[in-house]
Amino acid sequence: MRRIISILMENEPGALSRVVGLFSQRGYNIETLNVAPTEDATLSRLTLTTEGDDKTIEQITKQLNKLVDVVKLVDLSEGAHVERDMMLIKVRAVGGVQRDEVKRTTDIFRGQIVDVGPSVYTIQLTGTGEKLDSFVVAMSEMEILEVVRSGIAGIARGEKVLRLKSS
């Protein structure tokens, strides 16, 4: 089953490589990875998705918790949560018909065209991983030049928070 593990960790050099290294060292796979600083400059938030049975996920979370740089973590897939992936996709768009078709599909998916060239469009789209996948399928008639995705970022719904001091 796919899991979304969200980690609060020290914003220290080397911290990210410890997390990523753990996965390759122990033969776990990372499907997506997203990492950025938080409102507290000393902490970063890392969200990763991985596949595994319960036993593997239990080991993964325990091993992650054991890393000295990891402050706290949560398996978001255990409860209600919001997850978002962001995609930038550059497609070939030449001539009125093709350009209209790209615009139409983008509108249906509530995407935005963020850059326009004489023969290309760059579209930005945000949503769950599945939504982005379907968009790529929908665009498969077009010539896709580049796909860039942020990887999933997630947060629990409601009062539950992942932060240094639990309120």
Binding site: S17, K55, K66, V68, V70
Partner: protein, 581 residues
């Protein structure tokens, strides 16, 4: 406040930390540190002959004393040479702090002379690592390193120090913190009381109990409590290779080591048990044999300081995360409470039957039964360890290398105390024995320290004979000489129809007696059983001399019992070349 340079702060911080020995080797990136040590430090430094030996010696010191081992190496090749020793310590959870030099900050990333990414290389084999960015952080970083190395599940910590951080001309205020807090690190202090209550109930309901204790009991100083608990309940105990000495080896309740080369009775009792109390052990593949067939009828209570050790391979029915001492004392309290309520616990009749069964196993297949493949006066390896045991009265610190000799030592030297048996269990590092013996001997100069080795292993760090000369560490080297990489040969006998691919070197071995003389030590050859005891005594009588006993043993002997793999269970063992369970 005192103003010190980065190098001086390192020297002082090690002193303030109470470090007794630094094991190391100098080079360009650490020369400021060496100069600071030279000028001011009260901490003696042991100059090894290869950085691998520095880590093993620090490791041997740590295992013998329970205190962290300290290593100082230069950048590049100094650091990479230390890697095997760091991995060895990591696998066996040994507290160690390794200070490695690094090229100056402005050169990092430029493939500078002797630059290597030590933090990167060591990442999978350390508990944690630091790169010093600001010299003023040195004292706090060192404090944190010692705290991490020694608390929770111990392990090696690397501090990588760019040369410019140790410059003698830049001075900083020195203050060594009393204690440190790391907000993202809080090892368990107590076990969960509800779990401990459940564990006490299960433990007392056992009809065929087993206590399976590992290196965590030694590391966590839990031996006395474990022994008390086992003896109160009259439950049988087995120790892992890492746990030997955690329970007295000569006690009736001790069934010996378990696992691949574990004793028949230990493996049989594990397999047939109904409740296993696992303490500070990690159900390693060399213990369990095929995991899916592991102890089918047993409910498992697993106590460990590290949650990742629990249910990693074998699932625990009652997991308890906590330090072995506090959990065992809480457990004993709960056991006593339950027994007060119900004095019939545990079931005495069942226990008596269980002991009868165990005694039957014991009688059926004790250890070595006198088989012999060579001449009648040829020396069997087991007899060497028995002789060593007699002559040292079971009171030596015994280090070992890796191979058949290691298993014979583990099986036949009955360790009554923790920390006396010093071997690389997890990584299985040949070359560990001699430097580890140096560390143990420096820690306990008045004790006998023996390194049980093979002619293969000893050559992996034989250069340390020179260190022994320099620091006058008169260890005794017990070389079980079979002229083979014996353990490799054993596998080739058993699985490759005796094709000895690269496991022989008979014609090219050095004359060890002459070699010892060249270093200023004593070498004695032993070829006959009739002279074994006398020569062993002679060696240990030379208190101030390193003596190398080159003991020619039966070349064809194998280590038994041996688990049958793949697909075997705990109870499936070869008992000799042609006998199996």
């Amino acid at each position: 406040m005192e103003m010190l340079s980065g190098g001086e702060m390192i020297a002082r911080a090690l002193e303030d930390e109470g470090v007794e020995y630094i094991f190391g080797y100098p080079g360009g990136a650490v020369l400021h540190i060496y100069d600071a040590l030279f000028k001011s430090s009260k901490v003696p430094h042991v100059l090894v002959r290869h950085e691998q030996a520095a880590t093993h010696a620090a490791d041997g010191y740590a295992r013998a004393t329970g205190k962290p081992g300290v290593v100082l190496v230069t950048s590049g090749p100094g650091a990479t040479n230390a890697v095997t020793g760091i991995a060895t310590a990591y696998m066996d959870s040994i507290p160690m702090v390794v200070l490695s030099g690094q090229v100056a900050s402005h050169l990092i990333g430029e493939d500078a002379f002797q630059e290597t990414d030590m933090v990167g290389i060591s990442r999978p084999i350390v508990k944690h690592s630091f790169m010093v960015r600001n010299p003023e952080d040195i004292p706090a970083t060192i404090k944190k390193a010692f705290y991490l190395a020694t608390s929770g599940r111990p392990g090696p910590v690397v501090i990588d120090i760019p040369k410019d951080a140790t410059r003698p001309d830049l001075k900083f205020e020195y203050h060594y913190p009393e204690s440190v807090k790391i907000r993202s690190y809080s090892p368990a202090q107590r076990g969960h009381s509800g779990q401990i209550k459940k564990a006490a109930r299960l433990l007392l309901s056992a009809k065929r109990p087993m206590i399976y204790a590992g290196g965590g009991v030694v590391q966590g100083e839990g031996s006395a409590l474990l022994t008390e608990l086992a003896q109160k309940l009259n439950y049988p105990v087995t120790n892992t290779l890492m746990g030997l000495g955690a329970y007295p080896g000569t006690d009736r309740q001790f069934l010996g080591m378990l696992g691949m080369h574990g004793l028949y009775e230990a493996n049989m009792a594990m397999h047939h048990s109904d409740v296993i109390l696992a303490v500070g052990a990690r159900f390693d593949d060399r213990v369990t044999n095929t995991v899916s067939k592991f102890c089918p009828g047993a409910k498992i209570i697993h106590i460990d300081i590290d949650p990742t050790s629990i249910s990693k391979t074998v699932g625990a029915d009652i997991p308890i995360v906590g330090p072995v001492q506090s959990v065992l004392s809480d457990l004993m309290e709960q056991v006593a409470l339950l027994q007060k309520k119900d004095p019939q616990l545990p079931d005495a009749a069942a226990l008596q039957k269980w002991w009868q069964q165990i005694d039957e196993w014991r009688d059926k297949h004790g250890l070595w039964t006198g088989r012999r493949y060579g001449e009648s006066d040829s020396i069997m390896p087991q007899q060497v360890i028995e002789s060593l045991y007699r002559v040292t009265q079971g009171d030596a610190y015994v280090t070992s290398d890796v191979g058949q000799h290691q298993m014979f030592a583990a099986q036949y030297y009955r360790f009554d105390q923790p920390r006396r048996w010093i071997n690389s269990g997890g990584l299985g590092t040949m070359g560990f024995g001699l430097p580890a013996a140096i560390g143990a001997k420096l820690a306990f100069p008045d004790k006998d320290v023996a390194c049980v080795t093979g002619e293969g292993s000893i050559q992996m760090n034989i250069q340390e004979l020179s260190t022994c000369t320099q620091y006058k560490t008169p260890v005794k080297i017990i070389n079980l000489r079979n002229n083979y990489l014996g353990m490799v040969k054993q596998w080739q006998d058993m699985q490759y129809e005796g094709r000895y691919a690269m496991s022989t070197y008979e014609d090219s071995l050095p004359d060890f007696v002459k070699l010892m003389e060249a270093y200023g030590h004593v070498g004695i050859q032993v070829t006959k059983l009739s002279e074994l005891d006398a020569k062993m005594e002679e060696a240990f009588a030379m208190k101030d001399k390193l003596v190398f006993l080159d003991i020619f043993i039966d070349r064809m002997e194998h280590v038994y019992p041996m688990h049958i793999a793949p697909n075997g269970s705990m109870k499936d063992m070869w008992l000799s070349k042609n006998e199996r369970t």
